[in-house]
Symmetry: C2
Subunit: 249 residues, 2 copies
DNA sequence: TAAATAGTGTCTATAAGACATTATCTC
DNA sequence: GAGATAATGTCTTATAGACACTATTTA
């Protein structure tokens, strides 16, 4: 491939344009990443919240999150959005990115959702297996953090529009229960069918027939999505068979 | 409810904090809104693209979009994200917001997706009924714009990551075909069952059995989602019954 | 009347809902 | 053996796929 004179002129024009370019003068919003960290412990859906140390909403509970790191110029444009979410998750919970299921949820960008300045937040949700919850160091980033039962939040006023973000996350997760493997992100590495069913009931808020649910799980066993695993639950009656997820998680 | 001394102190503290607050000094990204404007004309899925007049990607085709207006301070924080999308749509197509179906798609935020500076773009998709396509003034915003058949774009290199954004939009729409009324946004105000079926086939890229599809539509008629409408198509064989969507659209 | 497409009907497979019954484990 | 829960089975209903067949309109 040869460069014509026109090609060279255009390349030069482009270099010049980019060199001369100054990021637009009009104001920009701040961009944050907020994470709805969810787990299920004691048959209860819980979300991780941090207590705000500064205004606005000082002393109130909020989603963990923080500013997208943007770098300082053309040379360094900072971190990818997904990387920012993984970083925030690790900073606030101590969980390495591969230990939680992290997915973008929705972007919230109403004016005045932050009284200080214009902030657009890209919300993610993270699902943490209950057996990993002990690894979560509450108050990692020098911020007070703790798990809240989601239903109990009706009595609490959260900072910003974070209550709406949590609601949207749960709605999204519920809608994905039936056509994804998302529910395996909310049980321990080994689990029983009744435990799985409980996850479903807690997320949807509706009871699920035991027999019908088993039938679905039976198909997953046939399809080698899950397999029997060693181990036993300590119960006061008949213990359920223990399974594990087949693919790496 | 009475204010205690502590309440008053806290309120004062808050006012002071907000007055003193200076938006963070660390750099911010630009935030844009890009819109995947789709329609179906002549049994072909088409997307509206605009030709870039400036570097980078000068002369290449790109999604219509623009910067989120942020206002200039605390007093005015600018427009909601959704409003920005509706505004951009109208600016670039002339379509009033209520004439197209507009929904947030996904937020794309990889570093270096724009060589000039850090740009996070919140992508939306807009579905335009084919009978409204004539209202779209190509090149509205003094920019050259035109409709492209989506399959033909495989040969074209689009600006930025816009090809990936279009792909994601189509994937999302395909996934919503079966549990939403989204396909009615891609047929004229009155339509026939074969026309509806064609929409489905074009979006999914897979053939759909006529009888089976009719059966589904028949259920929608029973459920009063659509109803028969006056009119007739000019055809060279038996003309199909014409329907309209019941709810306001 | 021929061509073409609209529209109908049927058989089968899959999966969910509702609900009854049996099996197995712990104490 | 009692209590409790796991596990299985059955009947019904809803829906999709595949495919054959009939009806109606235009030229």
């Amino acid at each position: 491939m040869t460069l014509t004179k026109a090609d060279k002129r255009q390349a030069a024009e482009k270099r010049e344009f980019l060199a001369r370019y100054r990021p637009a003068n009009f104001p920009r919003p701040s961009v944050t990443v907020d994470i709805v960290v969810l787990t299920i412990v004691d048959a209860e859906l819980r979300v991780l919240l941090v207590k705000r140390k500064e205004h606005p909403f000082k002393g109130q509970w909020a989603l963990p999150g923080g500013f997208l790191r943007v770098g300082d110029g053309k040379k360094n444009q900072g971190e990818d959005l997904d990387v920012a979410a993984a970083r925030e998750l690790e900073e606030e919970t101590g969980l390495k990115p591969n230990l939680a299921y992290l997915e973008q949820l929705y972007t919230f960008g109403k004016a005045d959702r932050d009284p200080r300045m214009r902030v657009v937040t890209v919300a993610y949700y993270a699902l943490v297996r209950p057996d990993l919850v002990p690894l979560v160091r509450s108050g990692g980033d020098a911020a007070e953090a703790s798990w809240f039962a989601v239903p109990s939040l009706r009595k609490t006023t959260l900072a910003f529009d974070h209550a709406a973000i949590i609601a949207k996350a749960i709605e999204r997760i519920a809608s994905k229960l039936d056509y994804s493997n998302i529910m395996f992100k909310l049980v321990p590495q080994t689990f029983t069918i009744p435990e799985l069913r409980s996850v479903r009931e807690i997320i949807t808020g509706a009871p699920q027939d035991r027999g019908n649910f088993r039938r679905r799980v039976a198909r997953m066993i046939e399809d080698k999505i899950i397999e029997q695993a060693p181990g036993k639950r300590i119960t006061t009656s008949k213990p359920a068979t223990v399974f594990r997820f087949c693919q790496k998680r």
